[in-house]
C-alpha cells in the first residue's frame, strides 16, 4: 500500500505488518528474514519511517502499569501522547516533555528523542525514560536503561528505530495542579531582540518563538516569544473544542510569497501590546496545529518538508542571522517558523538537541527548493550545527556524517547487537548507515 510520512514526500509502496502483541511481533520477525522499518503514527516528516516492509505499532497500544506514587507509566510503544494526556491530565499528571503535536507514539518519541518548549530546563523526552524493552528478533527481548545495557539505550534514544523494535517503555510523568498554562507573549522587533528575550526569560519552564521568515531588512527575525508556566489554578479538564479537518489538498499555488507575507504580517500584529498575558488550556499552548486535522494537506499534493537545524550558542546571532537572511532572500519561507533555545545535550548518540539555537520551518516541495536546502546545509555545517533527522527527507550522507560524529559508535552498537541489517529505513540507506 502507498505510505508516506507527515510531509507526504516521498511516497513509497510498502507492505505493512501490524502485530498485536509482543509474541505476535516476535513470531513475525522470525518468519521474515529481510529488513524492516518500524513505524508509529507516521508523524516524522520525511523518510525515517519508510521502507519496503514496515512494522506498525498501531495495535501495540496498551498501558501496562502505572505507579500512583511515582508517576511512572509503563506502556506499549504504540500508545500515543494524546492518549496519555487524555487519561492522566484529569488525574493531575502531565508529560515531562512534549513535541509540538500530541499525535505521536511513545515509541516514536523515543526513536526521535523529541524535545519540547522546555528543553532548556527539562532536556529531551528520553531523559525521562526509565527503561525500554526492545525486541531485537524472534528470540531476544532486552531491557535497556541508563544503567542496564546502556549502550543500547543511548543508541535507541534518538536512534530513529534502527536498533530494534521498541516494544514498551516506562516514562516518568510529572504532577500538575491545573490543565492550564499561564502564557506571556512578548514582541521582538528583530532577531537580536528575540534572542535576548530568550536569555531574559530562561527561568520559565516553557519558551518558544514564532518567527517571521519573510520580512527582512531591519525587521529580520522579528518574532513573538511565548513563555509558559503550569498554572496553579484552573481545573484538570480536557479541551472540549472539536477538531476541524482539512478534507482536500489545498492547491499549492495558493501558497505564495504574497499570501504568506500577508499571513505573517497579520500574525505579528495580532499582538498589540509589547507584553500580553493569557491563561490558556494546555492544548492550544502546546499543540496549536493539532486542532486542524491533516494540516499537512495545506502544502498541496506534492507535499512539503520541514527544515530544522541547530547551531551552537558560540556561533549564536551571527550564524542565525546569516542563515535567516538566506531564507528570507529566497522568498520560500513558510507561514511561521519556530525558534527555540536549547539547553545542554544528552548522552544519546544521535539525539538532535545541543546547546544552541534551533529554527524549524516548512517548505513546500518544488524543483528549485533542493538547491536552497543544500546551500543551507553548507552554512549549518560551517557553523558547527546539524539537521534534525526526524524532519529530514534529503540530507546527504556526507552532511550527516560530518554533523553527527557519533554515527560510528552508533553503528558499532548496532553491530554488537546484530541489528544492523535487520532494521533499516529509506533514510538510513540514504545516510549510509547500511
Amino acid at each position: 500500500m502507498k505510505m508516506h510520512g507527515w510531509g507526504r514526500y516521498p511516497i513509497v509502496d510498502a507492505e505493512v505488518f501490524t502485530p498485536t502483541s509482543s509474541t505476535d511481533l516476535q513470531r513475525r520477525l522470525s518468519l521474515h528474514s529481510g529488513s524492516i522499518t518500524p513505524r508509529g503514527l507516521g508523524r516524522s516528516y520525511g523518510d525515517s519511517s519508510l521502507g519496503d516492509k514496515m512494522l506498525s505499532t498501531r495495535w501495540l497500544n496498551h498501558m501496562l502499569t502505572f505507579d500512583q506514587s511515582t508517576g511512572i507509566l509503563h506502556c506499549e510503544s504504540g500508545v500515543s501522547l494524546s492518549e496519555i494526556l487524555e487519561v492522566f491530565v484529569p488525574k493531575g499528571w502531565f508529560l515531562p516533555v512534549t513535541p509540538g503535536t500530541q499525535f505521536v507514539t511513545v515509541g516514536g518519541a523515543i526513536a526521535s528523542d523529541v524535545h519540547g518548549k522546555n528543553h532548556h530546563v527539562a532536556g529531551c523526552f528520553c531523559d525521562h525514560v526509565k527503561y525500554i524493552d526492545m525486541i531485537l528478533d524472534g528470540e531476544r527481548m532486552i531491557r535497556c536503561s541508563q544503567k542496564e545495557n546502556s549502550d543500547l539505550f543511548h543508541a535507541t534514544c534518538g536512534g530513529m528505530g534502527l536498533t530494534g523494535i521498541i516494544y514498551s517503555a516506562a516514562i516518568c510523568l510529572k504532577p500538575i495542579k491545573s490543565a492550564f498554562i499561564d502564557q506571556t507573549t512578548f514582541k521582538a522587533s528583530n532577531l537580536k531582540e528575540s534572542l535576548d528575550l530568550f536569555a531574559i526569560h530562561e527561568d520559565h519552564p516553557y519558551s518558544v518563538a514564532w518567527i517571521d521568515c519573510i520580512t527582512g531588512g531591519n525587521s529580520l527575525g522579528r518574532s513573538l516569544l511565548m513563555t509558559g508556566d503550569h498554572a496553579e489554578n484552573g481545573e484538570l479538564t480536557l479541551n472540549r473544542k472539536r477538531r476541524v479537518g482539512l478534507p482536500v489538498d489545498i492547491p499549492s499555488a495558493l501558497l505564495n510569497r504574497y499570501s504568506i507575507t500577508a499571513f505573517n504580517t497579520l500574525y505579528y500584529h495580532r499582538i498589540r501590546g509589547q507584553v500580553v498575558n493569557h491563561h490558556i488550556h494546555y492544548e492550544p499552548f502546546f499543540y496549536p496545529l493539532d486542532s486542524i486535522g491533516d494540516w499537512n494537506r495545506m502544502y498541496g499534493k506534492n507535499g512539503f518538508t520541514q527544515y530544522q537545524f541547530v547551531v551552537p550558542k558560540e556561533a549564536g546571532y551571527q550564524a542565525m542571522s546569516t542563515i535567516l537572511k538566506t531564507i528570507v532572500d529566497s522568498g520560500k519561507g513558510s507561514f511561521l517558523a519556530v525558534l527555540k533555545v536549547f539547553g545542554k545535550r544528552n548522552q544519546n548518540l544521535l539525539s538532535f538537541p545541543m546547546d544552541g539555537y534551533t529554527l524549524a520551518l516548512d517548505f513546500k516541495i518544488e524543483q528549485d527548493l533542493f538547491p536552497l536546502l543544500d546551500k543551507l546545509d553548507t552554512m549549518v555545517l560551517h557553523y558547527g550545527g546539524k539537521i534534525y533527522l526526524t524532519k529530514d527527507a534529503r540530507v546527504s550522507e556526507d552532511t550527516f556524517k560530518q554533523s553527527y560524529p557519533n554515527w560510528e559508535q552508533f553503528q558499532s552498537v548496532r553491530d554488537y547487537y546484530e541489528v544492523k541489517d535487520r532494521f533499516t529505513s529509506l533514510q538510513s540507506k540514504r545516510l549510509g548507515l547500511n
Binding site: 507492505e15 501490524t18 502483541s21 498501531r58 495495535w59 496498551h62 498501558m63 501496562l64 502499569t65 507509566l73
Partner: protein
C-alpha cells in the same frame, strides 16, 4: 457507574468500546478465549479509569460451558446494565465453498454459539427487568453476497434472532441493539489493501456504539453511510446482482 459484560473482549471493536466505558469509570467483566490478551487489556482498562476489571476464559464453540461462564459473570457484576457481544470470525469464504464442514463450522461460531449465549442472557435480563443487549451483527447479513455469503448467512441468522428477541424483551424493559458495522480497521484488515475511505477506525465505531446504546436505538449502521450502501445493495435487481462479485 455501569456494570458491563463484554463477550469477545479481545476483538478490536469491543476493546475500543471498553476503553470508552473505562473512561466513564464502569465496572467491567471481560470474556474471551485468549487469556494473555485479556490480562493485558484488563490492566490497560484499569489504568484508563475502569472502577474494576475482571475477566475469565470463554470459548464460543464450547456451548455446554456457556451457562457456567455467564452465571459466574452475574455473580461478579450483580446487575448487568449493558452486555456487548462482539466475538466471531471473519470467515474464509473460499474455504467454506470447498468444504461443507468448514461452512458449518463458520455457522456454528458466528450464529449458533451466539444464539446460545443470547438465549441464556435473555432469560437473565428478562428477570432483571432492565439492561441493554448490544449484539455485533454485520452489514453482510443484509443480503447474501458472493464474496462472503457464508459469514453473511450466520449474521442474517443473528439479526433475525435479535429482531424477535427485541420484541419479546421489550415487554420487560430490556433493550436489544443490533450493530451492523461496515469495514473496520482491525489487525485482520490493516494488512489488506482496502480503499481507505470505506474503512472506519474502531475508535469511531466505538463512539457510535455507545451513543446508540445511550439513545436505545434498535439498529445501528456504523459508520452511518452503510445504511444507504446496503439499501442500494438490497435493491439491486438479480439480473444485475448476479453478474457482480460484491
Amino acid at each position: 457507574m455501569q456494570n458491563i459484560l463484554i463477550i469477545g473482549a479481545t476483538s478490536t471493536i469491543a476493546e475500543a468500546t471498553a476503553r470508552l466505558y473505562a473512561k466513564q469509570g464502569a465496572k467491567l467483566h471481560l470474556l474471551a478465549r485468549n487469556l494473555s490478551k485479556l490480562e493485558r487489556i484488563a490492566a490497560d482498562l484499569k489504568i484508563r479509569g475502569a472502577s474494576s476489571v475482571t475477566f475469565s476464559g470463554f470459548e464460543g464453540n464450547k456451548i455446554e460451558k456457556h451457562r457456567e461462564v455467564i452465571e459466574n459473570a452475574i455473580n461478579i457484576l450483580g446487575t448487568m446494565d449493558i452486555v456487548l457481544i462482539a466475538y466471531g470470525t471473519l470467515g474464509n469464504q473460499k474455504a467454506s465453498e470447498a468444504s461443507a464442514e468448514i461452512a458449518i463450522q463458520e455457522f456454528q461460531t458466528n450464529a449458533l454459539s451466539i444464539i446460545s449465549v443470547l438465549t441464556i442472557l435473555a432469560n437473565v435480563m428478562e428477570k432483571q427487568k432492565k439492561g441493554i443487549l448490544a449484539v455485533i451483527s454485520s452489514v453482510a447479513g443484509d443480503r447474501g453476497r458472493p464474496s462472503n455469503y457464508v459469514y453473511g448467512t450466520a449474521k442474517a441468522a443473528v439479526t433475525a434472532f435479535c429482531q424477535g428477541l427485541s420484541a419479546r424483551l421489550y415487554k420487560s424493559g430490556v433493550h436489544v441493539l443490533i450493530i451492523k458495522p461496515g469495514m473496520v480497521d482491525t489487525p485482520m484488515t490493516t494488512e489488506m489493501a482496502m480503499p481507505a475511505i470505506l474503512v472506519a477506525k474502531p475508535e469511531q465505531v466505538a463512539i457510535d456504539i455507545i451513543k446508540a446504546i445511550e439513545k436505545r436505538n434498535d439498529v445501528l449502521y456504523t459508520p452511518w453511510f452503510w445504511k444507504y450502501v446496503m439499501i442500494g445493495i438490497i435493491h439491486l435487481p438479480n439480473s444485475f446482482f448476479n453478474k457482480t462479485n460484491l
